[in-house]
Symmetry: C2
C-alpha cells in the first residue's frame, strides 16, 4: 500500500516529486503507458531498480498446464499467461564511466509526471555519480494512439556545469528476469525465458530487429528499433547485438550548454500465422511510418487524439481535487486500455501489469464498457467484436458442458476457459448475460445497426440459447436457473441468483427484440418465431426470490435463511476473508464480497420499487465487506439513488483512489480497470443518476455536500451532451447533434440548442439508517481542496 502521498494533487497530471523505491512496482503500474495494443510499464529507462519489468502486447500469451489434485470432466487443461515481451524502453546511461543508477551516487532530484492531456510520461533527473559531475537527464515516453504498433522515447542528457563523458546504450532485450510471483493466486504465474530467438538482425542503418516465438502457444513476436541522434560534433553511434539483446551505443563528450538528444522509435507486431520475414518487415515498416511522422509529429497527434477524447469524456469535479485528479487518471487509463483494441479484449489490468495472468473477465463488460459506451464507443465496439470473434470457442465450450448456445469463459486471453476452480469460474454464467447487456447498451447508445446485425445478434442469440439450456420451469411455472454463481464470490453454486436471473431475463428479451429487428439474419442463425416465443416466455416467468418475512429480495433462493457471518469476531487482519477462511464457510453464510443484488439494482433498476431498493440496500450493506475492487462504485450508485449521498461520496473515493493510493495492496500487478471505471460510474450514474436504454437518457442528479459542482459529458446517438450539476440544480446542454428528449428526475424535457436547467429534489428516504459490518465502513474522506 502507498502509505505516503506519493503523488501531488493536480487536475491534469500525476506527478511523483521524488523517487519512492519502496513502491516502485506500484508506480510502474500507475505510470504505465498503453494504446490497448502495446503496454509499457513505467519502468525506469535504465531498467534497474524495478518492481516488475513489463512490456506487453494485447493477446500475446504463453500456455501453462493447470494442475488439479483431483481432476474432473470439463476442467481446462491449460491456462494462458501474458508474456513480458521484448523490452524496447531500455536506455542505459554511463556518466564518466559510472552507470546511472538511482541507488548509487547522488540523486539531486527525480520527478516523474504523467501528462493526461499530452499522453506522455516525462521523467526529469538531476544526478551525480559517486565521484563525478552533475548531469540533467530528461526522458519523454509515449505509446502512440495514432501509430498502433509504435512507441517512442525522447532521451536528453546535459551536464550542469562541467564537461562530462556520456555513453547512452539503447537496447532491445528479450527474456528479462521477472521476479517470482508471490503465493497470492491473484498474481501472475512467472514464466521463465518464454521467448525462443528466431532472428536478431542489425542493419547498416542502425535498424535493429528481433523476432522470437513462444514454445507452447506458437505465437511469433517481432520488435524493432531505430534512433535519431542529435549531439555535438564527434558523437559516435555504433550498433551491435546477439542472443536476446540488440544495442545501439551513442558516445559523446558534453560541455556545459551542450546536450545529447536521442529519439528512440520502437515497434511491435505479433501473429499466430505470419512468417518470420513477414513479421520482420512489418515492424520495420511501422518504424518507417513513425520516423516519417517524427517525434514532434507523434506528440502532436497524441495530444490531438486526447483533446478529442476529453471533449467527450471529461468529468469536472469541484470541491474535491483528489477525486478530480483520480477520475481523469481513471479515464486516461481506460482510454489507454481501449484506444486501439481492434478485436482484442480489455484485460482486468489493461496492459499495465501481469496481474490475473493478463486475463479478461466480466468486469470489462459490466464496468469498463459502460463508461466507454458513453465516452469512447469505439472501444466498446472493438471489445464486443472480440467477443463475437471467440463465439465459436464459446459454443464449443457450451457443447462440452452439455449445454446449448455459447458459454463464454470466465477468464481468458485467447477465448478459451482458463478458470481452474469451477465454482467461481465456469459456474458464473452471468458473464454471458453481462456480454449481452453490453451489446444492448452499445447498440442503444450508438444505433450502430451494422454492428447489431453482424456481431450483436449472434452474441444475443447464442447467450439466450445458453439460458434456455440452463433454466427450467418448475411445477409452479416459475423459470428457475439453479446451481450457478453470481457476482458475489463469497457465494457460489446457488439456485436462482437474483442478479443472474434478472440479467438472463434481460438477455432473453434483448435477443427476442433484436431477432425480430433482423429476422432474416436471425433465420440464418436458425432462429424461428417459436424459439423467440420460448425466450419471451422464459423471461416472463423468471423467478425472482423475495423474502416476504424480511421484506427484501434474496441474493439467491434461501439466502436470507443462512447464518450471518460473525462479523463481531472477525479481526481487521482477517480481511480479505478469502485468505483466512475456507470457501466452504464463506459460501454458506450471509457475507457479501462484492455488490451482487446491489449491482442488479443498478443495472436492472426497473425491476425494483424505490422502497425495495432502499430496504434491499440497507439489508445488503450490513453484509458487504468489499473484499473486491468491483464493489465500491456500485454501492456508491445505489447509495446515491436511495439518498445516502455522504455514503456514496465515501464509496466514490474508494473506487477512484484505488490505484493512486494502492488501496487493495496489489496495484503492483497492474491498475484496476473496473474500479477506475467505477469512479466515472459513481460520479455520473451515482451523483448524475444516469440510466439509459431504449433510446432515452435519464438523469437524477444530486450532489453530496463535499462536491460543489459536477460537470460531465455523455455521447449518445450522435449527440454530445454536457451536464452541469450543482447542489441546487442541473443544467443540460447539447454540445453537438440534433435535439434529444431526456428525463430529469422523471420529468421529460427536450433539449435543443438552448441549455435547460432544473432544480434537484431533496434526497428520498431521509429516515434510512445504513450500517456496514464493523470495521468495513468506507474510509471517511475530507475532500482535498485545491
Amino acid at each position: 500500500m502507498i502509505r505516503h502521498p506519493a503523488f501531488t494533487t493536480e487536475p491534469w497530471t500525476v506527478r511523483e516529486c521524488r523517487l519512492h523505491t519502496d513502491v516502485l512496482a506500484q508506480t510502474e503500474s500507475v505510470f504505465a503507458l498503453s494504446n490497448g495494443h502495446i503496454g509499457l510499464r513505467g519502468n525506469l529507462d535504465e531498467g534497474e531498480p524495478y518492481g516488475l519489468p513489463g512490456t506487453y502486447l494485447n493477446s500475446f500469451y504463453e500456455l501453462r498446464p493447470l494442475p488439479y489434485a483431483e481432476a474432473g470432466y470439463g476442467y481446462p487443461e491449460s491456462g494462458q499467461t501474458v508474456v513480458n515481451v521484448t523490452n524496447g524502453k531500455l536506455i542505459r546511461l554511463l556518466v564518466d564511466d559510472e552507470p546511472f543508477d538511482v541507488r548509487y551516487g547522488t540523486l539531486h532530484s527525480h520527478e516523474r509526471l504523467l501528462d493526461l492531456r499530452a499522453g506522455t510520461l516525462i521523467r526529469t533527473v538531476r544526478w551525480s555519480p559517486p565521484t563525478g559531475v552533475e548531469i540533467r537527464m530528461r526522458s519523454t515516453r509515449l505509446v502512440s494512439y495514432t501509430h498502433r504498433a509504435v512507441a517512442a522515447i525522447r532521451y536528453e542528457v546535459e551536464p550542469v556545469d562541467q564537461p562530462v563523458n556520456v555513453v547512452v546504450q539503447s537496447e532491445l532485450v528479450a527474456n528479462e528476469t521477472v521476479p517470482t510471483a508471490a503465493a497470492d493466486p491473484r498474481a501472475a504465474a512467472a514464466l521463465e525465458a518464454p521467448l525462443v530467438l528466431e532472428e536478431n538482425a542489425t542493419g547498416s542503418d542502425g535498424m535493429c530487429v528481433m523476432v522470437h516465438s513462444t514454445r507452447a502457444s506458437r505465437l511469433r513476436v517481432a520488435a524493432a528499433m531505430c534512433h535519431e541522434v542529435d549531439g555535438p560534433g564527434g558523437t559516435r553511434v555504433d550498433s551491435d547485438g546477439g542472443g536476446d539483446v540488440s544495442r545501439v551505443t551513442v558516445a559523446t563528450r558534453l560541455r556545459p550548454g551542450e546536450r545529447l538528444r536521442l529519439d528512440k522509435f520502437f515497434a511491435y507486431g505479433w501473429s499466430a500465422k505470419r512468417s518470420r520475414p513477414a513479421m520482420h518487415d512489418q515492424v520495420v515498416a511501422a518504424l518507417a511510418a513513425a520516423r516519417l511522422t517524427g517525434w514532434d509529429g507523434l506528440c502532436a497527434e497524441q495530444r490531438a487524439f486526447l483533446d478529442d477524447y476529453w471533449a467527450g469524456a471529461d468529468v469536472e469535479v469541484e470541491g474535491d481535487a483528489e477525486v478530480q485528479q483520480a477520475v481523469r487518471f481513471g479515464l486516461f487509463h481506460l482510454l489507454q486500455a481501449g484506444a486501439r483494441l481492434e478485436r482484442r479484449p480489455i484485460p482486468g489490468k489493461g496492459l499495465t501489469g501481469s496481474g490475473y495472468d493478463g486475463h479478461a473477465f466480466w468486469d470489462t463488460e459490466s464496468f469498463v464498457l459502460p463508461v466507454a459506451t458513453y465516452t469512447y464507443p469505439r472501444a466498446a465496439r472493438d471489445a464486443l467484436e472480440w467477443r463475437a470473434s471467440i463465439l465459436p470457442l464459446a459454443e464449443a465450450r457450451a457443447e462440452l458442458l452439455g449445454l446449448g448456445g455459447a458459454a463464454f469463459p470466465w477468464r481468458t486471453i485467447n477465448g478459451e476457459e482458463c478458470s481452474g476452480y469451477w465454482p467461481a469460474g465456469t459456474a458464473a454464467f452471468h458473464v454471458n448475460a453481462d456480454i449481452a447487456d453490453a451489446v444492448t447498451r452499445y447498440v442503444d447508445a450508438t444505433e450502430d445497426t451494422a454492428f447489431e446485425g453482424d456481431a450483436g445478434l449472434p452474441l444475443l442469440v447464442a447467450t439466450a440459447r445458453l439460458w434456455c439450456a440452463l433454466g427450467h420451469h418448475d411445477a409452479e411455472g416459475r423459470y428457475r436457473i439453479d446451481g450457478v454463481t453470481g457476482p458475489d464470490e463469497y457465494s457460489a453454486v446457488s439456485d436462482n441468483n437474483l442478479y443472474t436471473n434478472l440479467m438472463a431475463r434481460r438477455n432473453l428479451r434483448a435477443a427476442a427484440a433484436t431477432a425480430v429487428r433482423h429476422l432474416d439474419r436471425a433465420g440464418q442463425l436458425g432462429v424461428t418465431l417459436e424459439e423467440i416465443a420460448v425466450w419471451r416466455d422464459a423471461a416472463a416467468a423468471m423467478y425472482l426470490p423475495y423474502d416476504e418475512r424480511l421484506g427484501v429480495h434474496a441474493q439467491s433462493e434461501g439466502y436470507t435463511g443462512h447464518a450471518v457471518w460473525d462479523f463481531e469476531n472477525t479481526r481487521p487482519d482477517q480481511y480479505p476473508l478469502l485468505l483466512h477462511f475456507p470457501y466452504f464457510d464463506l459460501y454458506r453464510k450471509q457475507v457479501v464480497k462484492q455488490a451482487d443484488l446491489v449491482l442488479a439494482m443498478h443495472l436492472c433498476g426497473e425491476a425494483f420499487t424505490p422502497e425495495q431498493k432502499a430496504r434491499n440496500f440497507a439489508y445488503y450493506e450490513a453484509l458487504t465487506v468489499r473484499d473486491s475492487s468491483l464493489s465500491a462504485a456500485t454501492q456508491a450508485v445505489l447509495a446515491a439513488e436511495v439518498g445516502q449521498l455522504g455514503l456514496a461520496y465515501a464509496y466514490l473515493g474508494e473506487a477512484a483512489l484505488i490505484d493512486l493510493r494502492d488501496l487493495q495492496h496489489n496495484t503492483r500487478d497492474g491498475v484496476h480497470m473496473a474500479s477506475l471505471a467505477g469512479a466515472w460510474i459513481a460520479l455520473v450514474s451515482g451523483f448524475g443518476g444516469l440510466r439509459a436504454g431504449e433510446g432515452r437518457l435519464c438523469f437524477a442528479p444530486r450532489l453530496p455536500s463535499e462536491i460543489t459542482r459536477l460537470t460531465f459529458r455523455v455521447r449518445y446517438r450522435g449527440r454530445l451532451l454536457r451536464v452541469d450539476v450543482t447542489s441546487e440544480d442541473t443544467t443540460y446542454r447539447l454540445l453537438h447533434g440534433s435535439p434529444v428528449s431526456l428525463a430529469h428526475h422523471g420529468e421529460t424535457l427536450t433539449l435543443g440548442g438552448r441549455p435547460q436547467s432544473r432544480s434537484n429534489p431533496s434526497p428520498p428516504f431521509p429516515e434510512l439508517r445504513i450500517t456496514q459490518p464493523p470495521g468495513r465502513e468506507p474510509p471517511s474522506r475530507r475532500p482535498a481542496i485545491p
Copy 2:
C-alpha cells in the same frame, strides 16, 4: 471387467481353474491376503507377469504435493499415498536353465484357490519349459492372523516323470517397478522408487534383513526373511544380496518321486520413530517366533482363528450358490481387512490394492463397521480407536476451518485431510456423524463401557461440538445445517441435507446421553450441563426438509424443485456420469449417484413412517444411477423393507458380486470393502430386517422367491444368536449367552435356551411400482443352483 466366469462357484473357496492373464490385476485383488496389518496382492510367486505388484503395510505411506490451478485457504498442501513396500512373496524358479514363466513353455494346468476356511491361497501348476521336462509346482501362501508381522509361503517343486535340475530363488525386493497410474482419478498416484535403502544385511544363518525409509513422510520399514529347506541330498543353499535385493538360492537335482520344499517366512515392521537397529531386531524377532510356531503351526492357528470367526459371522444362503460364495468371500475380505488393525484404519480397498491412494473414507464406519460390530467387534473397536487416536488432528483441522470440535478428514491415511476438491471432500461433514454413529452402534452391541469412556465419549463430544459450530437456528426456530455435502456425490454444498441433519441429530443426542452416563469424564472434556442442553435443543429443532406437494422428503432443501436429469437422452456409454458431464450440471439437477436419503431411511428409519419410506424410495429410485459401489446394498435394504423383494434380490447380487465379477471395472485397484460388506447388509439388514439400538435387536425377515433359506448369526451383548429364515417363517436360536429380548416384525419375544419360530408376514405396499432411470435397472439374475 471380468467377462468370463473366472471363478467356479463353490461354497467355501474361490477357485480359478486356469490362468486368465487378461484379468490378472483383478485376480490379484481377489486373491489378496491380509491380516489388516500386512497386505499381499495375489501376484504370481515368480513376480511376472503382473497387473499391479503390491505389498502393503497399514498406514505406511509417502507424501506427495497436491497441486491446484487456483489455491484456496484450507486446501491440503500434501496428500498421502500408500507405498508398495519390500516384496517378500517373490520366489523365482529355474527349471533346467529355463526360467519358469507362464508366458513361455507349456502351461499344462494352473489353478489358484483361495480357501476361506484355511485362510490360504494355494497355487498348483504343471509346466514344461519350451524344450524341457514337466514339473509340478505348488505354493501355499498365508498372512498370519496370529503372528501380526508375519507372512509365509510353502513352495514345492517336483518333476513329473524325468529328472530335472531346479533352482529356486527366494527374494526380498524393494522399489519394484509399478505401472503408471491411469488418468482415472480413482487410481493411485504412482510413486517411483519411494524407498531409500538404509540396510541390506544377510546373516550367516541365511536371515536376510532390509531396512528402508521414505523421503518425505520419514517412515522406516524393515523386512526380513528366512527359510526352511527340505530337498534331496546335495541340495545347496546360498544367500546373497545388495542394493534393493536380498536373495536365497536353492539348487538341487530332483528325480521323479523327489521333491524340493521351501518354507519361506517373512516379516515386516514399520515405525515413524524407532531406529534402524531397533527395526532390524524387531523383524528378526518376529521371524524367530514364527519359526518356532513352524509352517504347520501357522496353518493350524490360521484355521482355528477362522473357525472362531465363521462361528459368529457365517451366512448361509440356500437357493443361490453365487451369492452364497460371494457373501463368504466378502466376509473373508472384511476379516482380512480388520483382523489385526490395532489402532489403524481400514482403507476403502483394505490392503488389497493401491486404489484411492490407500485412503480410508466414511464407508468404513457406515458399511464395514456395522458388519464387524455384529460379527467381529474387535475390528470395529480397533478402527474406532484409530479415529480416537487422530482426534487431535481432527480438532486442529476444525480450528483451521474456523469451526469447533473435530472435523475428521474426508480421505486420509495418517489422519490429515487429503481431499483436493473440497465440495466433495471437506464439505462432506457427515463423516463425523458416521463416526459417531459407529461408536454408538459398537457400544450398544458390546456394552464396552471402557471403550465408551476412553474413546467413545471424546469422539461423540468432539463431533457434537462440530455440529454446533456448523448449524444455526433460523427465524422459525429450525436448526439448519447449510452448505454441506451429503453422501450423494452428484450433489454438493447444499442446505439441510436430510441425511446429514438426521445423522447430526443422532450424533447430538448420543453425545448428550453418553456425557450424562460419564459426567466426570465429560467434565474433564469441558462439557457442562448447559452444553448438553444445547445439544439436545439443536437435535430437537433439527430441520428435516419435506416437499408437501410431492409428499416426499427432499434430499436437501429445494432439491425437489431442481430439474430432473435428462435420463432419456443419456447414452449407456455416458455412465458413470462424472466422467462425461461436469460436476456443475450434475450438482444442479435431480440425479443421485448413490443412496443418500435412502441411506438415511436405513440408518435412521425411526424418522420416517412406513408410508413415507415407500413414497420416498419410489421417488429416489427413479433418480438413482448407482455410479458408486456404495449404493446397491442400501437400496436392497430399503427395497426389502418396502416389500420389493425381487428388486432387493437384484441389488443384493450387484453388491455381492462386485469384485468376483468386476462389476465396476476397477477391481484391479483393490476390492471394494464397503460393497462386500453390503452383501451381508443386504442379506441380514435387508432380508433379515435387522435393526438394532438401545439394547435391542429387531428383525423383520422376508425372503425373495429365489432364496429358499437364509441363516445368519449375530453377536450382541455377549450373546450369539442364530436366525434361520425360510419363505414362511423365522426361527431364532440363542447359541451362547443369557436370555435376550428381541422383536420379530414388531412383536417382542424373549429368547432363551429354546428356539422360537414365528411366521413372516406378507410384504407391505403390494401396489407400489418402482422404476429406475432407463438402462440403470439392476441386472436381473437367475440364481445359480449348486
